[in-house]
């Protein structure tokens, strides 16, 4: 479904992503992990159309989408959430999600109905009428997911939707991701915390200094010498896995 071929992105003299290649098939749940500054979010920005790659190709269903604007890529069925959540703060939770639903629906009324359904799936029904800026962090992350889901993506990129959550919220969002995956959605999940990812992903790519240093099943990743080195000083994170 999505293929990256030697994708690179530089900022001035700094290489944020270096020749990263990866392959995502329909129905996959791919995890991307790496220490802070490894280039995970930059990679998402390239895939979703926020940055134009300096080298390589981004193929969505075999078509090179590099350089296309994010909204066009969303229309093709690929969307993302933001690590630093970007709710439409002055609008209600319901309107936030409804605006997402307008991606596929021409009618506001139909989008409203669709939004209600998605809000329920994501467990936000009680907050539907509240302005998005009044939500606590945990629910804002859910709103990010709900709004993206409402666009009816085939491939969803989740950028650290688990960071900063308490254990109960964490369990809830993992459960939600599992359910979405079970319903046939293809996902790429970025996470800084390895522990959560080990329980969730089928396959994991490890980025370090913008390069892929390992790829494999969670079990293979934890045994990888280079991954352990990359996370040196963060053993406690690994120990939780």
């Amino acid at each position: 479904m999505l293929t990256l071929e030697r994708v690179s992105k530089h900022f001035g003299g700094l290489t944020a992503v270096r020749e990263v290649s990866l392959e995502v098939r329909a129905g996959d749940l791919l995890g991307i992990i790496g220490p802070n500054g490894a280039g995970k979010t930059t990679l998402f920005n390239v895939i979703a159309g926020y940055y134009r790659p300096d080298g390589g190709r981004v193929l969505l269903d075999g078509r090179d989408v590099a350089g296309q604007p994010p909204h066009a890529i969303c229309r093709l069925g690929l969307t993302r959430t933001f690590q630093i959540v970007k709710p439409f703060g002055n609008l209600s939770v319901g309107d936030n999600v409804m605006i997402g639903a307008l991606n596929r629906l021409r009618s506001v009324r139909a989008a409203r109905v669709e939004a209600e359904r998605v809000i329920e799936t994501c467990g936000l029904t009680a907050q539907a009428g509240a302005p998005a800026k009044t939500l606590p962090v945990g629910l804002r992350k859910r709103l990010e997911v709900a709004r993206a889901l409402a666009t009816r993506p085939r491939l969803l990129l989740l950028d650290e939707v688990m960071a900063g959550l308490n254990p109960a919220e964490l369990a809830g969002i993992i459960e939600l991701i599992r359910r979405l995956h079970a319903d046939g959605l293809t996902l790429i999940v970025i996470e800084h915390i390895m522990a959560a990812m080990m329980r969730l992903a089928q396959r994991i790519v490890v980025l370090h200094h913008g390069e892929t240093i390992a790829e494999g099943t969670p079990a293979e990743i934890t045994r990888d010498r280079r991954v352990v080195d990359a996370y040196l000083g963060e053993e406690f994170v690994l120990a939780q896995a």
Binding site: G49, H71, R80, F82, K86, F88, D95, L102
Partner: protein, 325 residues
Amino acid sequence: MAAALRGRAGALAFFAVAAAVPLAVRDQFFLDTLILILLWGALSAAWNVAGGYAGQVSLGHSAFFGIGAYSAALLSARYGQSPWIGMLIGMVLSVGAGLIIGYLSNRLRGPYFALSTIAFSQVLLIVASRWRGFTAGSEGIPVPFRPGFATLGLGHVAWAYLALALAALFYGIQVYLERSRVGYQLAGVREDEDAAEALGIPSRRLKVIAVTASAALTSVCGTLWAQYVGFVDPFYVFSVDLSIRFALNAIIGGLGTALGPWLGSILITALETYLRATFSGMKTGFAGIYLVIYGVALILVVRFVPEGLAGVAARLRARWTRAHA
């Protein structure tokens, strides 16, 4: 129908009163005030499309007002053409200028967009006031009065209904921006462009469309205003004060609300009319005091009542409903 009217009772009352006044009152002073309230409100509504709904705060909208005013005035004064044709030409020119400003809105954010719009209107001011051969320069041009609808030589009652029709049309455009697909998408762009893009919204295109539409609507008002007042002075029609006034009505009334521009206009126009009557002896004194008050009002409103009169009304209504529930 009932759903469509919910929360629109205030607007309905306002337009009903505005429609009834010319039937009951023939006093020119009152009619003049009514016409100005409606026209200034329409101008702020036009500004609101870009500044309120799309979040693109322009302080150079007098550029489009001036284009509309000059197009019709020059065409009728020099070539004896109908101001309606001038209105159309003004709209076309304003769409062109609006595309430039819309392009800038995609390159610049916040204060820098506002500054670039000021610079844009200043360029037009200099051109209009220095290009003597064509625009009559800084002396301005009188608009000939030829009775009839085709030439917009109308009496006060006819002007009142024309202004009312314009106000109702602009109100309707804003309601559309609140309830339609494109309106909601625009709200998303206003709140967060990156997030809007991720939801499949072409944010850049929508901003350009909003700014350009706002420009064309402003130009229409400029034409009507020039025909009503009968004189076009470049230092007035292209002034920064005028641009600020468009914003001011909308902010006082409630940024990004449909009725807000007229609520603000009632307050500001009434204040202006009152001060004009009180200080009629001293010309600069009057303009000065009036503008000092509106500068201070702007500072106070954004600080203490950022949701404007419409927001305050909504809050009071909510409290009332809760108390009687």
